[in-house]
Amino acid sequence: MTILQIVEIVVGVAMIVFGILAINTKKLINSVIFLSVISMLAVVSFMLMRAPDVAITEAVIGSGLVTAIFVFTLYTTKKAGEKI
């Protein structure tokens, strides 16, 4: 087992753990942040699979932009004085 395979497994398992966390957490903002983490880990796994184009696109669009519009949605719909 090479070092790269170990990294692959660690990344994959971490993604699954964060996925379960994102679904079961109470606060919506945490759920969104865990999704962002999964997306970042996906970027790593794309790099491991020699897909730089996909990695860049996922990093910019999937991880950055999607998280941004999620957070904006949550901010614009919060009630006055409420914390997210």
């Binding site: 994959g12 996925g19 679904i23 919506l28 897909a51 696109t57 999937g62 949605t73 719909t77």
Partner: protein
């Protein structure tokens, strides 16, 4: 190995879609499912010891071993489509929140 884990990630997303009734959680689950699917598709194009599919001055010949570029192109398309759908779903969720004051589908009255 990452291929098995990506299928597991897809299943986590499906679990979220089945068990949650909160709109934001549903969209998050959908995104998790799509990330898992994207990793799976890239993984079917992976070739052991293959190079990234770009000709450079170091790897300058097509006779070298490259990974399959077609699944990567498919995933690029899928990512962009996913963003479009996520944006649309969030816009719907925001509009529904405005009328009902909640993200929980079960707590919405009427309709």
């Amino acid at each position: 190995m990452i291929q098995y884990l990506s299928i597991a990630l897809m299943l986590v997303g499906i679990y979220g879609l089945l068990s949650q009734r909160n709109m934001i959680k549903l969209i998050v689950s959908l995104n998790i499912f799509e990330i898992g699917l994207n990793i799976f598709i890239v993984s079917i194009g992976f070739v052991k010891d293959g190079l990234a599919p770009i000709l450079t001055s170091n790897h300058n010949s097509s006779a070298l071993l490259y990974v399959d570029p077609l699944p990567q192109a498919m995933v690029l398309t899928a990512i962009v489509i996913g963003v479009g759908i996520t944006a649309l779903a969030l816009a719907l969720a925001r509009k529904l929140y405005k009328t009902h004051g909640t993200y929980e589908l079960d707590e919405m009255e009427g309709e």
